[in-house]
Symmetry: D2
Subunit: 287 residues, 4 copies
């Protein structure tokens, strides 16, 4: 019995037989399902499934792919198959705030987030020491209105050269161009420091203070071309009261941002996320 686990994800229009298309084949081929989640979206008439499995005997990946493709075509499925221990290459982008970066690096170096980090990119030099200590290349790419196009080209080159699977905006305080957003669609995660859709845009903690809210939160979402409007992956929250000045909300928010962003990254690398319409299906898990 193999210890290597695999993850199969698929989605397609709702129709009879979608579950069996996956589970039936896994059974026929002697794959032992260790975790199975599915969702049939009644309103959008779309079906999503994620199966984690381990072969009972040897596993012929190509044969499995060929067999599954037949079924996928029948049902109009888009699908992915990959080993569960596949290490995603994650490029992290930051500015000056280091709490999210520090948190991600801690989870990285302790193996809680089993990823590779080929590059940290920043428009400021401040966080280089932290990158150095983790032996991660740090690219300081300053940006101004005039240099924005060139800077983004440089960023894009690093992302391409490092073959990044995912880009994480860990409090990167620059608005990406529409072109850049489009190129990163579905593989860039941002942390916004408010409970979206409340308090979009700049200085959300100050907005929250003015409004006198009694809860403060953070939202991890996929980047799309609509600022702070990308599909929501996960949100965190804590209660506050009138005694919180904007700097207190900011401090309280830091812990929420760290945990929320780390959770979103983990969901992504564990292939628990499906983008559909403007929403994000999340097959959450233990943790």
């Amino acid at each position: 019995m193999s210890e290597q686990h695999w993850i199969l994800t698929a989605h397609c229009p709702s129709q009879l037989g979608t579950v069996d298309a996956v589970t039936g084949l896994l059974y026929q081929q002697g794959q032992y399902i260790t975790d199975l989640q599915s969702f049939d979206d009644r309103l959008h008439q779309h079906f999503f499934i994620r199966a984690q499995f381990r072969p009972e005997n040897e596993f012929d990946e190509q044969a499995f792919r060929d067999a599954f493709q037949v079924r996928a075509e029948k049902y109009g499925m888009e699908w992915t198959l990959s080993p569960s221990d596949l290490k995603y290459k994650v490029v992290i982008m930051v500015s000056k705030f280091d709490h999210c970066l520090n948190d991600l690096l801690y989870r990285y170096r302790t193996g809680q987030l089993p990823i590779e980090i080929p590059a940290i990119i920043s428009n400021h030099p401040d966080l280089k020491a932290l990158a150095d200590w983790h032996n991660i290349p740090y690219y300081h790419l300053p940006i101004t209105a005039e240099t924005k196009a060139q800077q983004e080209a440089d960023v894009w080159k690093i992302i391409c050269d490092s073959q990044a699977d995912l880009v994480v905006l860990a409090r990167y305080m620059q608005v990406l161009s529409e072109d850049m957003c489009a190129k990163l669609s579905g593989r860039a995660i941002n942390i916004h420091h408010s409970l979206l859709p409340g308090f979009k845009g700049a200085r959300p903690y100050h907005q929250a203070y003015e409004k006198g809210v009694k809860l403060v939160g953070a939202t991890a979402h996929y980047v799309n071309t609509d600022l702070d409007e990308g599909p929501i992956i996960t949100q965190g929250i804590e209660p506050v009261d009138h005694t919180y000045y904007p700097e207190d909300l900011t401090a309280k928010g830091r812990d929420i941002e760290c945990v929320t962003l780390a959770r979103a990254v983990r969901y992504h690398i564990e292939r628990r996320l499906f983008l559909h319409s403007k929403r994000c299906i999340v097959f959450a898990d233990s943790q």
Copy 2:
């Protein structure tokens, strides 16, 4: 030693001596402070205080008022003094949804909310049986675009005749006129079924569904002339995920709305709330 407790609230511009203005007099007059909360708002330069006390010996209310008024004038304080067991007269307005009404009535009849309810007003007849069982007069005042002015006049008459201290909009699905809002300013509490400022206006649970939020909540706020923009008193929240259809969000939200609204009403009748600028200072408590 008296068992009768009193509640003193005061607020004024920030300045040296504001705490002592309250605590010093209470001490001099032999009042035993059982609970004291204060807040000096550094950004708005305003001071708020609430003291609950019981007289060690007899209590001459008028003498206390006269003595405190001297201090209040010195500091420019607005203040209130009342026995802690004062029963507020609360008029409840509803439409067809009964969960908030049912919850308030339960707390009323068991004494958890020590209030009087002189009237329940509705634009629908549906909830009369519930009011009847609690022996509370139920006023069915239907409303149309044409009759709105007259209906509000009728509502206002009931509020006045019953000498209501507070009006609670317990899922009353009509927008009050600007005039009505102004008249009720500072003594009407609404429950909105979203985490304001997200999802203002109609059908917030449907908006939340479309947006794919991962948290759903409710907001109790004072009514003002700006729809769903009144000062926030308290908010409640629960996690949700992609499997929640709008009707599931609605069902989940019901429990949150009940608890959130009841808490706001309790805060008000315990004189824990101060309106200032667009924000609400909340001296919350055990419970």
Copy 3:
């Protein structure tokens, strides 16, 4: 296409093919799966599955049962099949505290909890009016050390006569005999007003006060012969602080108890719960 949904639950020792045993047959027989949850317990080597489905055409229940029984025998499955709108008969037992009863009755009369309540049993007469208003028979069965055996016999008769599927101890302040617990095993739910396993036994809020805990909670669990040790179904919690006296913890706890117990009852009637070893598998849902 039928609108009638069915629920199939099954569990058996872990082995290859357990998922397919369910999903394969459903597919072959033209059943459309609307919700599917499964769990393969790696440590206890046991598999659990719950499928909600609706027939695409007519549904021959007996034929389906016969076909599934063949598979069930092969895998050693225990299983149940029932229409999703099956109305459980729920007997509620109470003493003097009415908050949980009031909450359950509210959900009952509004259809949120689609159950029948053939009887409310109490060792006190206090809550009869509440039962009467809902047109539910109220049995006042006082209990003393001497009459306990007879009282339980009377209780048991009511349970049997009403063909109760579930007994809910909604703050019933009597310890059931070991014999009674055994008879009710797997179909009686109790609400305990603490976060078990902390503060078992009497007066848990007072114990919590003495201990100075900063969180207070409630636990809904199946009744078994070990007092307050039955498998945990769900737990609720709220933050507290040093200002909470025992009566404040009690008041705070009431809302938690209501929501927690109602959730546990709903899980049970929706067939989301599996008892295994000392633990309870909970296929939770939207809500």
Copy 4:
């Protein structure tokens, strides 16, 4: 107007005049109260107060102390006075798990926790690199049953030599001797990875798994001679379900432990904690 803030804490038996004893003198001496919290414990008949203030003009600390001592003697008060920016010397003790240490060091190096860390002590060598990167002396003091007395003597010497104000057990997996506990009474904080009083002792996450709890948490408490029974400072919690194996509970618990311990340390250094009887009074704040 001075920018230097001071913190005054005091407690004494409940009696008339305790608030005024503090607030009256502050007013007379021209001290501007920026934050005031008090609690009169009705059941234990004890009074607690914490005032943060800044002098309007120059501040003669000794004169203030002399004046306050007169009042303190009258009321039987124990009290402390210190500048709000006083840097506590905090010795951290760890074993092999580094998540709490990493979190504390992050808050330390970014100034979120304004403390000095004169020493990190461990019974293992593993975490030396982390200490080195922060330029903090790391003392590797292995321990066995035979060497326990000597090891504790060495630990004690480091604590004394560094003039530590506080000792933080950041997942130090050794039980301190009764003597050591006594010496550290009131100035040592431990993080226990369960919701005390549930799951005392070893392997609490495994105990929680066996019990099938639906919430997992952590408890920061003062160390006393009764293992895992010291006064609770603060607790954190997250929901879990049946899919969490012990290692998943452990992973989930890590984030809770970090935040909970850091909060307890901050409360301590901000002089927000009072030990009384077996309970801990916590004047919590914004954050």
